[in-house]
């Protein structure tokens, strides 16, 4: 076992450095920027971000004169502070002020997704909303109200806070959104990254190094080393991309989208995200490496990548279909079926705060990844290396634990 891991490390180190120090890797890191650049050039990015469901909208529920004042104040201050500094503001029910519902019901029952509702007067503004949104909007509202009241004033009115607990129903919806966002990110990353493993053994096979490797170390080590090298490379990519995304959103965008806190809390959710990404990646990479290893040429690998991507799509649809049906058979199936399990379980983490079933899922997924790897190695030895079947040592569980 120790020897297998040592040899796997040798293989992984070679692969990783070969990738990192290649020019192609630079373009790999830049890859996700291309769509962004196109969008920026089209000039629509800002607008689309504003229309996005996630950007907060402040509902202004004041009498007409005051409302117009504050809108004007927003307009003129935006010239100084930049167009994205203040959240978008919408006037609510100007025509029929008395017939307005109370701010609280407006928050929950409205076509527009208001983050907070501003009511009261410019001297005594009242802000209604959930804690998170109140904190982020309080200062700007104070500034806007003060400025609207008297442009010269340096004293800002005190904003009265009217905190509203999110209704259970709404929180559930929002957590589903977090879960789905997690699934989409997870799926995107595994689809983009795991497919690269398909062609991973073609180089060794075409330049005959496979013979040197096979003579020196167990084939398990070759597979494990290659998969983990790609996993580490994927993490390098993810870290670079998320750093870029974070900086990009902070500088040009409206900041990090304000997703509702998942049921297990952000730290655990993110940790689980990393683990489930690794598991999902390891399972698919084992499968793809096994399939790719059987291919004789690069052309065959290219042909194989299509069904491989389709398989991932199917898995994704199963998972996304079950995501909003917590506890129903389809969701249970998605959580248990190994390939969709990481996606479905991440969605669960957003919605339910039970932790032990993640432990079981992770162990199950790890064993499944190991099983696929073992099958891939055996198939490779049997069909490609043309290894015989006789005189084999008794292999214990997957062979990995058999050799000391």
């Amino acid at each position: 076992m120790k020897e297998i891991l040592r040899a796997a490390f040798v293989i992984g180190r070679r692969d990783f450095t070969a990738i990192i120090f290649s020019k192609a890797f630079f373009f790999f890191l830049l890859g996700p920027l291309f769509p962004l650049v196109v969008a920026l050039i089209a000039g629509n990015l800002g607008k689309e971000l504003a229309e996005n469901r996630d950007t907060p909208v402040i509902g202004v529920m004041m009498d007409v004169q005051q409302a117009e004042k504050i809108m004007k104040a927003r307009e003129s201050l935006s010239k100084e502070m930049g167009p994205n500094y203040f959240a978008e503001m919408k006037l609510v029910g100007i025509d029929d002020f008395d017939a307005l519902p109370d701010p609280q019901s407006l928050l929950t029952n409205s076509d527009v997704n208001y983050a907070v509702i501003l009511s009261g007067t410019l001297d005594k503004p009242i802000l209604t909303g959930t804690d998170g949104s109140l904190n982020s909007q309080k200062a700007s509202i104070a500034l806007l109200s003060g400025y609207a009241n008297n442009e010269q004033s340096t004293i800002l009115p005190e904003v009265q806070i009217n905190s509203v607990e999110s209704s259970a129903n709404r929180l559930k919806d929002l957590r589903q959104a977090t879960g789905q966002a997690g699934m989409v990110v997870l799926f995107m990353l595994t689809t983009l990254l795991a497919g690269m493993v398909l062609s991973n053994l073609v180089e060794e096979k075409s330049n005959k190094i496979i013979e040197i490797l096979a003579a020196s170390i167990p084939m398990d080590s070759v597979f494990i080393g290659k998969i983990f090298a790609m996993l580490v490379m994927a993490f390098v990519g993810i870290i670079v991309w998320s750093t870029m995304a974070y900086i990009g959103l902070s500088v040009w965008g409206s900041g990090i989208p304000n997703l509702p806190t998942p049921a297990v809390g952000w730290p655990i959710f993110l940790t689980l995200g990393v683990i489930y990404f690794s598991m999902s990646y390891l399972m698919l990479a084992s499968l793809f490496l096994g399939i790719g290893a059987m291919a004789a040429t690069v052309r065959e690998v290219q042909t194989l990548s299509m069904p491989a991507t389709m398989l991932q799509m199917v898995v994704f649809f199963v998972a996304i279909f079950g995501a909003n049906k917590l506890g129903e058979p389809i969701e249970m199936f998605a959580s248990i079926f190994p390939f969709s399990s990481p996606l479905a379980m991440l969605s669960r983490a957003a919605q339910v705060d039970i932790l032990w079933h993640h432990g079981i899922a992770i162990i199950g997924q790890a064993f499944f990844a190991l099983l696929i790897l073992r099958i891939g190695v055996t198939m490779f030895r049997r069909n490609v290396m043309k290894s015989g079947s006789g005189n084999k040592k008794k292999r214990k569980f997957f062979g990995l634990f058999a050799r000391g």
């Binding site: 020897e3 040592r6 040899a7 040798v10 180190r13 070679r14 070969a18 290649s22 180089e203 330049n207 005959k208 190094i209 013979e211 040197i212 490797l213 096979a214 003579a215 020196s216 170390i217 167990p218 030895r381 290396m385 043309k386 290894s387 015989g388 079947s389 006789g390 005189n391 084999k392 040592k393 050799r403």
Partner: protein, 311 residues
């Protein structure tokens, strides 16, 4: 102790018996040649013995272990089809091959530099494999094969593709390793290489081993050849010549009789044959090979060699 032992080894590729019931004992500390024409099953036999592939039947042990890969740190193997990572530096390639066999990477780099200096490739240490000539790349691979000081070195057709100068270099390297007590096994289809280098050989044809033992023993299977030139063409001494003697003018060619050379000489002198010249030649490995593997196999090998020379 035997470096390699095989009993009843069988390897079948799609119904074709590439290795057919092979028994083999390769003594430790010797230079051992595996001799046979292309397609005889030499490579498959080596791959099976090294544990790259498992046999379909039979049993093999490498350096006393049933699990050949467990002996990896003590074994060096140069495959028949050479190949390296093209974008890797020469010295890193050697270090990587050493690391596969359990060596630390830095140690492998240092040793690799020394080895390259010794073979006159010091200037190429930091060059990528794709920048090297084919011969240089082969040398790099050979250095990678021995960088970890293996106890057993297996070379599959190491001389093919080398010019005469590099063949001589390789022979020196093999001798030097053997002098240090390393077991060197190589396969070849050129009898001369085996004859010059090996103490022991195995002759392989059609997946079977037709001979396994000392080169001496192989040669001793044939009687020495006597070439005799006489003044007289006939006399009582003619009776001393064995059956099957070829006559060629005043020349007589025949196998040395079992009784030895003395009775023959006495008969020749007493019978006044008038010996003008007499030579007794030990048969070469080629003759032994013909007698062991058969005319057809030997002819196939000769063809390969001349075809190789034409190329």
């Amino acid at each position: 102790m035997n470096a390699i032992e095989a009993r009843g080894l069988v390897k079948i590729f799609d119904g074709f018996r590439a290795v057919d019931n092979v028994d083999l004992s390769i003594p430790a500390g010797s230079i051992y040649g595996i001799l046979g024409p292309n397609g005889a099953g030499k490579t498959t036999m080596l791959r099976t013995l090294l544990g790259i592939i498992d046999p379909d039947e039979g049993h093999r042990s490498l350096l006393g272990s049933d699990d050949p890969l467990s002996q990896s740190p003590y074994v060096g193997y140069l495959p028949e089809e050479r190949g390296l990572y093209q974008s890797m530096k020469a010295v890193d390639t050697i270090a990587f091959m050493g690391a596969l066999r359990g060596m630390a990477l830095n140690e492998g780099r240092e040793k690799g530099r020394v080895l390259l200096e010794q073979t006159g490739l010091g200037h190429a240490a930091d060059m990528q494999i794709k920048q090297l000539s084919k011969g240089m790349a082969q040398t790099v691979q050979l250095m990678g094969t021995i960088v970890h000081d293996p106890k057993l070195i297996v070379l599959d057709e190491p001389f093919s593709g080398l010019d005469a100068l590099n063949q001589a270099k390789l022979e020196r390297l093999i001798r030097a390793q053997a002098a240090n007590g390393v077991t060197v096994i190589f396969s070849t289809h050129v009898i001369a290489h085996a004859e010059r280098l090996c103490e022991n050989i195995a002759i392989v044809a059609n997946g079977k081993i037709s001979f396994d033992g000392l080169v001496e023993t192989a040669r001793d299977r044939l009687r020495p050849q006597v070439h005799l030139e006489t003044e007289a063409l006939d006399g009582t001494w003619r009776k001393a010549l064995p059956e099957g003697t070829e006559a060629e003018g005043n020349w007589w060619h025949f196998e040395l009789p079992e009784t030895g050379v003395e009775p023959l000489l006495e008969a020749l002198i007493d019978g006044k044959a008038g010996i003008k010249s007499l030579s007794i030649e030990r048969p070469g490995l080629h003759d032994a090979f013909v007698s062991i593997a058969g005319e057809a196999v030997a002819a196939a090998m000769d063809e390969e060699i001349s075809a190789g020379e034409l190329l």
